[in-house]
Amino acid sequence: MHSGNITIENITKIEGTAGVEVTIENDKVTDLKFIIKDYRRFYTEAVLGKPFVASPSFLSRICGTCSVAHLFASLEAIEKSQDITLTEQTRLLRRVAYNGLMIRDHALHLYFFVLPDVLGIDSILDIPDTHDDPGHILLHDSFDIKKLGTDITDVIIGAAIHAPYPTVGGFLRTPDQTKFPVLIERLEKIRPQVLRGIKTFYDYKQELLSDSDFLCLRNGVSFDFIEGEITNSDGKAITESNFHDFLKSVVVPYSQSEGYLFSDEHNNYLVGSLARINFNKDLLNPRTKADTEEYLDVFPSKNVHHNNLAQAIEILQCVDDSLDILKSIKVVDEKPVRTPKKAGVGVGVVEAPRGTLYHMARVSEKGMIEDYDVIVPTSQNQINIEKDLKKYFSANLDKDEKVLRVEAEKIIRAYDPCMSCATNFLKIDWIRK
């Protein structure tokens, strides 16, 4: 292709609406725009003036698929603003619930969105209904895996989407421990299916090397999605409360979401499973590590398509971590921890399925939200996605336009972007202090 435009109006098999516009002049990509199109809902403005106890549940509505991540990040922010220290039981139960989120969300992405690429078909709806077909087997694995993730969250926090039990300081309802043995049995039984998925995404050979920095939480003790410090490729560790000081927001005039740069030595950066496995594979559950040894050798990796393999490994991590906790925990009735309302600021940072998620709450002495901010993974990955797409198109302009479109969608899909999340947040002018 010598000159012209390639437009992908609506990228499919992702969460939300986004498009790509590529301008080509004289065999060179002169412009490329990754455009997030979902309309904003202005949650960080809408939450102002609400009581802090009501805010986490309200803000979980930011996203359907990772509502638990927003819920827990918001709870953490509020709890820190009020100097609330959680009980060990609450920390462990939240960890199991979060594993349930990861299992379901990763399985949705890998099997419903990416698997058709692996199989060379349009959709899971095109998978043959024959029991020995490899696609059929994997699809039915996905139903079992997703359902188990959902059922874990149902038991621990009341629902997979907009869960009702978690509250500031603990739980409104204590999870029913009599339901744990069935979950334990199903978690054990699901392992071979999860391992089949890991092998599938390991064998899926796609490559696009990114020269970006990586960021994720790391705590040095365990593979943890909730607790840790933000770590980058140089090993720089940043406390959760200082995270925003290291980010520079960039207005992307054609996109409904701002982008972010890490204003340290590296500019563009990538968050998500790839970053987590790159940095934290030494902390994986021993059983996960033992059973994925041959696949872990590819990490650390700069291949963005390895985000799929990293997610598949994280599913097993979540299965094994949940098994350990559910087998050992003795649940007792606990009231939520509460302290007298006070003015304060708190930051909650968690690893959402698709990367580092930041919530900041400023609360008045009457317990009302005075200021709120959220930084989501897809906004952070936006600039990198654009950069990687430009790299791909620049190196492959000799290919048929249809191929370019398909491959571009695969790259975007590998990032597992979520546009619903990406279009709610407003802070700008963050520079490193």
């Binding site: 609506n10 809902r41 403005e45 809408a46 359907g64 419903f112 709806l125 989407i161 907009h162 619903s420």
Partner: protein, 174 residues
Amino acid sequence: MEPANTSAQSPEKKKLVVGWFSFTCSEDSTILFTELLNDHFNEWKTLVEFRHLKALKTNNSIEGLDVAFVEGAISSEKQATEVTKIRNNAKYVVAIGACACNGLPSASRNTFVPENMSFKTKWYLEHFDYSDKVKKLEDIIKVDDKVDGCPMNAEAFKAALWKYLKLFKIVENA
């Protein structure tokens, strides 16, 4: 949902032609729908042709829909035009989830006081094609059924789907 009596399908095995669409929302009902597929994939695949389902398919069409399930509120004239086009291509439209049925929580900005709005909120409202108000589906098009909830009530959705499977004689009245 009642199990499908596949033997009761018409000889030509017509399927219910369905489109699934999302506008301004968290897409939680889409996610719940994908969860329902864990249990209903095989059954629905024999009864329903998903002609438009962007979450699962690259090749989509809005032509000749029996039923359009529409999630989300309407934030702009462009979205209003799109949903009107969907209405014109569908025999029935079902509003899915709280944002489509009553606008909220996506319509929170309707209550913002302009003089209290942050600079950035104003900036986005001015620089993109936002309507003055976020609207529920019924403000734009005729809606035949509603499945409320945030996310949608799963049982109500299955009942609505079943209703149209019967109405179009995909399955006989059980």
